[in-house]
């Protein structure tokens, strides 16, 4: 649906986007992850036809943005970082303008407004002036504007920024519900967001793609060791010593004891069956095992790992 090839954008000598390529399949949500200033917005602006690339091509639904900008623009719904709202208008007036400028036929406009408002749940504020709305509602009006012409592709630049936790949850669910009918690119610098909403992740830093995978795959591929939390009934020194002696345990990260129970956080080699040997060892020693839990490495870890420069590009 979206093919991006060798896209480069230079501002003078500054390279904002450096030779990036990726694809998004129909109906998928792609998370575009990176710190602020990594080139996310620039890439999105190129794909939406807001600005041209220095080099490379972006093809949306078979049309090259550089050659057929109007065709591409009519197939894209775009929500910039700050929703582009005319705050003096009512929600209805604004959406009517958005619908018309996106080439919806005059007679079909009321229907389009109604269904967009339904999807983003803003029917209750439809007649209000936009500047009187809360940030969350404004964001949703922006989203309604992006989906009003039922575009094949949705491009959302940091759609949850500045919202409160409940609103964030709602917007995420909304985005997920839109996938399938729409192909979505979503940029964010919030890591859990990608894991929660996206089918695929592209991590970009300083204009370069440094990783490209599914959220799960990414977490798995960088994981060489796992963290294990163990709670055992027994004396802490002996338990620690015994645990260190077990094959596969690399280090004890934390240990503490309380009421005769000691809890340890162990770093274990991924290759060995550490959990099995540990539980066997504990039962041999007569200590009862209260709890054993694998700490999944989060995208947070992936990100820090990648950003620290030790990560290699994966594809």
């Amino acid at each position: 649906m979206i093919e991006i090839r060798n896209l480069t954008k230079r501002y003078g000598s500054f390279v904002a986007v450096d030779d990036i390529s990726f694809d998004v399949d129909r109906g998928k949500i792609l998370g575009f992850l990176g710190p602020n200033g990594a080139g996310k917005t620039t890439t999105m602006r190129i794909v939406t036809g807001f600005m041209p690339a220095t080099k490379g091509t972006a093809v949306v639904a078979g049309y090259d943005v550089a050659n057929d900008p109007i065709e591409v623009k009519s197939r894209i719904g775009y929500l910039p970082e700050t929703p582009p709202l005319y705050v003096d208008m009512t929600v209805e007036e604004y959406l009517s303008f958005a619908a018309r400028i996106k080439q919806i036929d005059g007679k079909a406009v009321p229907g389009a407004i109604e269904s967009a408002c339904e999807k983003v749940a803003i029917r209750d504020v439809q007649t209000k002036v936009i500047k009187t709305l809360s940030k969350g509602y404004k964001q949703r009006v922006g989203l309604a504007q992006a989906i009003i012409h039922d575009p094949e592709v949705l491009i959302l630049d940091e759609p949850t920024i500045g919202l409160d936790p409940i609103q964030i949850k709602e917007v995420r669910e909304l985005i997920k519900s839109l996938a399938g009918n729409h192909t979505i690119i979503l940029s964010t610098h919030i890591l859990p967001e990608v894991g929660m909403t996206c089918d695929e992740v592209v991590i970009i830093q300083k204009g370069k793609i440094i990783a490209k995978d599914t959220p799960d795959g990414l977490a798995r591929s960088m994981r060489r060791s796992e963290k294990l939390t163990v709670v055992v009934e027994g004396p802490v020194e002996e338990v620690s010593a015994a645990a260190t002696g077990t094959e596969g345990v690399v280090a004890i990260l934390e240990s503490s004891s309380q009421n005769g129970q000691c809890s340890l956080i162990l770093e274990c080699d991924f290759k060995h069956h550490v959990r099995k040997s540990l539980s066997n060892m504990f039962s041999e020693k007569g200590w009862s095992l209260i709890e054993m839990k694998v700490e999944e490495s989060t995208l947070e870890d992936v990100f820090i790992h990648m950003m620290s420069g030790s990560g290699r590009a994966q594809s």
Binding site: T48, F50, P52, I70, E71, P80, P84, Y86, D88, K102
Partner: protein, 260 residues
């Protein structure tokens, strides 16, 4: 065409959903009204004086020309007042969209930059035209109580509207270069003031240079219209100035894509 109409509709309504249209039109009518009052009262004084003198000389009073004494100076004044009012009409045009980010909506919608520029220009120009035509009450008063030639009034309005097309064009262009409304208004005001004052420079320079300055002056071209003389040359000046500035506005918005 449909796209231009869509942009036009939104822009035109936005003038009336904010106080801008009312303030601008009100201000304009008050200023022109003051000039109309001053011109009329001095005309009446002059006419009364003539009559008194004629009566003293035991002669019939000579005819006085209202067109010459009220209508022509009135339209000259209106033309100058528009120079002050146009910046207020056009300052928001692109500057506001750039500031609030709505330009991103326009530029990522399936419309061309030309549609956007023309739509915005027409909205500002329509507001200007409505404002200018609201002054019809002044000539009407003269028609009711005097006996002016009406054709020169119509020609003067063509001149006012032509001049408006040029100055609104300049305003839209300058607004497209900044995201600050105050700068847009000041810039437009200075540009229009320059095009007005450049006519005075013409008086101090001779030869080709003087002629050039004279040609450049936006108000100089209005003189004939105020006199009731319809000259397509003057209209062409306004139309070309409008065309050039809209082209420049188009280029300035397009260049944003390359630079920003």
């Amino acid at each position: 065409m449909r796209n231009i109409l869509t942009i036009f509709n939104r822009e035109f309504r936005s003038y009336f959903s904010s106080p801008i249209a009312y303030v601008v039109i009100g201000l304009f009518l008050v200023l022109t009204g003051v000039f109309f009052y001053l011109l009329t009262s001095s005309f009446l004084q002059y006419a009364a004086n003539l009559q008194w003198q004629a009566a003293r000389m035991r002669q019939p009073a000579p005819p006085v020309n209202v067109n010459h004494m009220i209508i022509r100076p009135l339209f000259s004044n209106i033309s100058v007042i528009t120079l002050f009012v146009v910046p207020m009409i056009t300052m928001r045009s692109f500057a506001d969209d750039k500031k609030t980010g709505t330009l991103e909506l326009l530029l990522t919608s399936p419309v061309t930059t030309a549609h956007i520029v023309v739509g915005k220009f027409l909205a500002a120009f329509a507001l200007y035209t409505i404002m200018a035509l609201l002054t019809w009450v002044y000539p009407l008063v003269i028609v009711l109580f005097g006996d002016p030639d009406v054709l020169p009034v119509a020609i003067a309005y063509i001149g006012i509207i032509g001049m408006g097309a040029a100055s609104v064009g300049i305003g839209v262009w300058i607004s497209s270069m900044t995201e600050n409304q105050i700068i847009a208004a000041m810039g437009t005001f200075v540009a229009l003031l320059f095009l007005w004052l450049v006519g005075w420079f013409a008086n101090f320079s001779s030869g080709a240079m003087g002629g050039f300055f004279q040609y450049l002056s936006i108000v100089e071209h209005f003189d004939d219209f105020a006199k009731g003389i319809f000259d397509t040359g003057h209209l062409m000046y306004y139309v070309s100035l409008c065309g050039i500035t809209l082209f420049l506005a188009h280029q300035s918005i397009e260049s944003l894509r390359w630079r920003s």
